[in-house]
């Protein structure tokens, strides 16, 4: 698929320190790409270079086949900054009119409906809850129907229910054809939403791929949890090509590098012992585990 955003060899020094070192990123139309990394990894700096808010020392940012002009966010791009707000006295409806006017678009009241803000249209920004403010910022970021929207930590500090609402809204945005670049600390969020992930550590790209590809890499193994009627299953872990992590409350937990072979061997083993399966769970390594592994490698 032809990328709409292509970032190559991005380098940026700040205060004599390399904040970005040869960073690359590709985003195709309608794709959600998560940019992951701990605090200070360079996520915000990379995004600001992509948005045109900062000028990289080296590297190339092409959006819709054109280079990004420094100091100007392209018209086809929507942005929600990490630390940005609106004037406290501005109402929701005024904010929509204001942003639409500067983006050269007609204000669309249906957007407020879509983001469950219609009833709050006359409420001032300072009177909105944090979750409502984030919903408004997201609505404003896409008010001019951009082809790409860049969201920097859009769910930071939100409660579980509000985060879930916002996730649903992000899926809606993607379904409408808008690509999303999402910078986040939340690995579960990235795993849930992203088509592709880029992990930044110390200003460099340490891993890139789909969440499934990323979790398949590394040394972390698949966790197989099993319980049987007689509880006689931990006979010979080597037989099922797995190591025993623990046995507790009638459950045995194995770690395997080849989950399919291990599960087959485990089922054969249970049948041979004339036992019966009560519960079986196979859990792939999470993105968070893979991320922590990379972070530890980087620190080492």
């Amino acid at each position: 698929m032809q990328p709409i955003l292509e970032v190559k060899g991005l380098c940026k020094q700040y205060g004599g320190r390399a904040v970005l070192d040869d960073v690359g990123l590709q985003v195709a139309a309608g794709q959600i790409v998560a940019l992951l990394g701990p605090n200070g990894a360079g996520k915000t700096m990379a995004l600001e270079c992509v948005e045109g808010l900062r000028t990289p020392d080296r590297g190339n940012v092409q959006f819709l086949g054109r280079p990004i002009r420094s100091g100007r966010v392209p018209a086809e791009m929507g942005v929600q900054l990490q630390l940005a707000g609106l004037p406290g006295t501005m109402t929701v409806a005024e904010a929509l009119r204001f942003v639409s006017a500067y983006r050269g678009a007609r204000p669309k009241p249906e957007l407020l409906q879509r983001f469950e803000l219609a009833e709050l249209r006359d409420r001032q920004y300072r009177e909105l809850s944090v979750g409502q403010q984030r919903r408004l910022q997201l609505a404003l970021a896409i008010a001019h129907q951009p082809q790409l929207v860049i969201l920097d930590e859009p769910t930071a500090g939100l409660d579980v229910a509000t985060r879930s609402e916002l996730h649903a809204m992000l899926r809606q945005v993607r379904t409408a054809g808008t690509a999303i670049v999402l910078a986040t600390h939340d690995m579960a969020e990235a795993e849930l939403l992203a088509d592709r992930c880029t992990i930044l550590l110390g200003g460099r790209v340490r891993a890139e791929g789909t969440p499934r590809e990323l979790t398949a890499q590394g040394d972390i193994r698949t966790r197989i949890t099993v319980s049987t009627v007689h509880g006689r299953i931990v006979a010979d872990p080597t037989l099922i090509a797995a190591t025993v992590q623990n046995v507790d409350d009638g459950y045995a937990v194995y770690l395997s590098t080849d989950a399919a072979a291990s599960v087959r061997a485990l089922l054969d083993h249970i049948a041979d012992r004339h036992d019966a399966l009560v519960d079986l769970r196979v859990e792939r390594p999470t993105l968070e585990e893979r991320f922590l592994e990379l972070t530890q490698q980087e620190a080492a």
Partner: protein, 271 residues
């Protein structure tokens, strides 16, 4: 144009909704007018002769120099100005729109107060109301320029208060508002000539009331015009620089807006 008008509409309403803007643009000058207007003519009957421009200049000073900078600093701290940049608001609008909105608010407040001062406290009415309005407009331009510059150069609300009070307090004490320039001790007059309020009061005397003045009115008018122009030009330039991350110690730039008054004090004061 639609975007500029929309921003202007938001700013106009923000000044009425924001408690500190409302206080400094309307409530503080009107409260000062009622309290001081009731007391001063009894203590000094000659005060009626210059009370109308005094209260008007006080309103312009409060709204322009005290009221205008704070929202800029607050919006910068809250990330509003960054959000504006992302949306495509030009740097020139960020400087021009709040200043223009403030000019309209403070001119409205100053006009109402001027009329009330004549009607309620029997202050001397200007001989030429149109010329009076022209000086008001010139004063509003200079004060909002200074307010804008203070907002841009101040790193925090504390710095804003410091710079604003550094202009506001001397202006009310020795800037011709409470005591005319001619009544000030000769040793204080050169310092008074460094303040915009002194030149505004001198202009009111000559142009709107047909009275003699101690400072050449052309120099006063040019100083005020140059002060406003320098302040707005510096505001725009420093704001753009700030957006490119080239911030540094910039507070002293405020003094550049006072250079025209220093020149006038040196070359055109007969006092």
């Amino acid at each position: 144009m639609r975007a500029f008008a929309e921003y202007m509409r938001c700013e106009w309403q923000a000044a009425l909704r924001h408690p500190s803007s409302l206080l400094l643009s309307y409530l503080f000058p009107i409260g000062f007018f009622f309290v001081v207007g009731g007391i001063m003519p009894q203590l000094n009957p000659a005060f009626r002769g210059f009370m109308v421009p005094t209260f008007a200049v006080f309103a312009l000073l409060a709204g322009g120099v005290l009221g205008l900078p704070t929202p800029h600093v607050e919006q910068r701290a809250a990330g509003v100005l960054r959000a504006f940049r992302v949306v495509g608001v030009p740097d020139s609008h960020v400087i021009a729109v709040p200043a223009l909105s403030a000019v309209l608010h403070i001119l409205f407040a100053a006009t109402v107060i001027s009329v009330l001062a004549v009607l309620i406290y029997r202050g001397d009415a200007p001989v030429h109301w149109l010329r009076y309005a022209a000086v008001l407009a010139l004063a509003a331009f200079a004060f909002t320029g200074l307010g804008s510059l203070i907002g841009v150069v101040s790193a925090s609300s504390r710095a804003t208060t410091l710079w604003s009070q550094l202009i506001f307090l001397p202006s009310t004490l020795v800037g011709g508002l409470m005591i005319p320039l001619s009544a000030l001790p000769p040793g204080v007059r050169p310092a008074s000539a460094l303040l915009p309020s002194t030149h505004i009061m001198q202009l009111f005397d000559v142009i709107a009331y047909g009275r003699p003045a101690l400072i050449d009115p052309w120099w006063s008018a040019l100083s005020l015009l140059a002060c406003g122009a320098i302040a707005f030009a510096l505001s725009a330039a420093l704001y753009s620089t700030e957006q490119r991350d080239l911030t540094g110690r910039r507070g002293l730039w405020v003094l550049a807006a006072f250079v025209p008054f220093a020149a006038t004090a040196l070359f055109a004061t007969s006092a």
